[in-house]
């Protein structure tokens, strides 16, 4: 058996390997598309963009890479990484491997915000803002109810409050869909609910980056405390952990990054559910390794899915459809054969 120092060194190798893998995927994703761009040109565009110079390439190539594909690749990386990290956090916190980042209603709340904004004919930035706020509000409501109920297992209470408030918010979404203009607004709503990175701009990336960084901070800082939290509330308390505060910080972080992701990409299901399992299979349950693994795998996975979404068919396939088609069978396989992820 390896000792701790050896496995630490192994971790660094894995992280470097993972980053390289994701970088290769990012290059491939920028090269592939209706207008294919050779890797040398991509590198020149990126270098020029970072140093502020003029690249020695076809201006169309420059526009495609710098204004379209680069923001999209970065957004995909961020969203995949964020959803996977949030999923890993919630699965540990709620001690349930079937939990996904929307367990506390963040996706439902974000959907209602976005759907309402589409219904009210708001511009795109307002749709994003309302979605973001809707997600946070929904989780705040769930958390409020969950902590107001005393004398019960706080974790179970939160989950059940999430189910109930999710249902109420879902009713709101259905109502807006019924009221929406079926030719103009309903397709937009449906498309949003299936998730897409089609319209992502550099400004979008800039607007969610702070939220994702702030949200990841508590997850990274509490990386070992997270392990103790998987023991459940009472055991963690007897070990001297302030479970209420720790849980609040972790939920805050996971909710913030999920809400930020959903606000620009819509509902992209399955990533936050499946990727943490893959990460756990690869590096084990220790959150100190699980978090970086989930970030890298989630980002890489989202790049692959998004590249497929925009290149396999003539029209773009919504992300939610692809992630479900790829994710659900994989999850079934895991259910049948994967024994190490959980028991």
């Amino acid at each position: 058996m390896k000792n701790a120092a050896d496995s630490d060194r192994g971790n660094w190798k894995l992280v470097v390997f993972g980053i390289l893998g994701v970088a290769v995927l990012a290059m491939a994703s920028m090269a592939i598309g209706k207008y294919s761009v050779p890797p040398s040109a991509i590198l020149r565009v990126l270098f020029a963009g970072l140093t502020g110079g003029q690249p020695d390439v076809d201006p169309i190539q420059q526009t495609v890479i710098w204004n379209v594909r680069l923001p999209r690749v970065i957004a995909g990386l961020l969203i995949g990484a964020a959803l996977a990290a949030a999923g890993a956090t919630y699965q540990g916190l709620f001690r349930n491997p079937l939990v996904s980042p929307d367990i506390l209603g963040v996706s439902a709340g974000a959907s209602l915000g976005a759907v309402l904004a589409i219904f009210l004919k708001m511009p795109v930035p307002v749709i994003q803002l309302m979605s973001f706020c809707g997600g946070l509000l929904a989780v705040a409501a769930v958390y409020g109810v969950g902590t107001a109920v005393r004398g019960r297992d706080p974790v179970l209470t939160l989950v059940l409050a999430g189910v109930a408030i999710g249902a109420i918010v879902g009713a709101g979404i259905s109502l807006v869909k019924i009221l929406a203009d079926p030719y103009d607004q309903l397709p937009a709503i449906t498309y949003w609910l299936l998730g897409s990175l089609t319209a992502v701009t550099r400004a979008d990336v800039g607007s969610i980056l702070p939220a994702i960084v702030i949200g990841l901070l508590p997850l990274a800082a509490l990386r070992w405390r997270m392990n103790v939290m998987t023991l459940g509330d009472e055991e963690a308390q007897t070990l001297g952990v302030d479970t209420r505060l720790t849980r609040l910080a972790l939920i805050f972080g996971a909710t913030l990054i999920t809400a930020a992701s959903v606000s620009i990409a819509g509902i992209v299901g399955w990533v936050g559910l499946v990727i943490p399992h893959v990460a756990r299979l690869l590096v084990g349950p220790d959150f100190r390794r699980l978090l970086p693994a989930a970030l890298l795998l989630g980002g890489g996975y989202m790049l692959i899915v998004d590249t497929l979404a925009r290149s396999v068919a003539l029209t773009e396939i919504p992300l939610g459809i692809l992630t479900a088609v790829v994710g659900a069978p994989f999850f079934l396989w895991l259910l049948a054969y994967g024994k190490r992820g959980w028991s």
Binding site: M1, A4, G92, R95, N96, P97, R150, G151, A221, L222, R223, W224, R225, N227, V228, T230, L231, E234, E235, A236, Q237, T238, L239, G240, V241, D242, T246, R280, G284, P285, D286, R288, R340, G341, W342, S343
Partner: protein, 259 residues
Amino acid sequence: MLELRDLAFGYGTSRVGTGVSLTLRPGEVLALLGPNGAGKTTLFKTMLGLLAPLGGEVLLDAAPLETLDRKERARRIAYVPQAHAALFPFTVRDVVLMGRAVQVAPFSAPGRNDREVAAAALERLGMAHLSDRPYTEISGGERQMTLIARALAQQPKVLVMDEPTASLDYGNQMRVLGHVRRLAREGMAVVLSTHNPDHVFMVADRVAMLHEGRLAGLGPPADVLTVERVKQLYNIDVVMGVLPGGSSKVCSPRLGPGD
């Protein structure tokens, strides 16, 4: 060390037990015997500070429990839950390391000293060879030992063990009880709950019997754990005695013709 004074305990407004007074001394094993629903678990939760007393008080080193913060409590009193099925396959070493949580700053991770304490706790219980095994893949007895090691890693003065022999096979029950005895000899104060009078005779210096939320008897098992008491607690007729060659009293049920 740990003292209960006229303690009333329960959840919220519903009172489960009342009038419980007892003192736990260093190096002593106190067994808590009582039927299901007698309030053993609720009493433990109150001793651990997970539930606030509904009346009376819990004193830890002469200080009321609620005046000590969560960390102070965790440094002095450790809880050993029943061996449970863990969800995630942490290694035995990692599970024991979690006993160091109170010593590890929130934004930090266990250091060399914590790893040494955890390794020593495993060594002390003869569990070192299992350090790298996933907790999900070891036996029930080994899990119980792992949880005891985790409690030892807290370096407490008091161990509170919730039915440490439940759901273990016969051999593991005896091994766990043997370790409990040894820990007490080394100065640890242990309070454990059990359903088995034999275990009380084997391991306990004193027994506290809980019946319908009240203390039905407290003292050395040989004096207070009688045939009549077992009948009162469990409504079962038993005979008691030391078998030839045995070291402690055993309790044997007499099933009537209708049973």
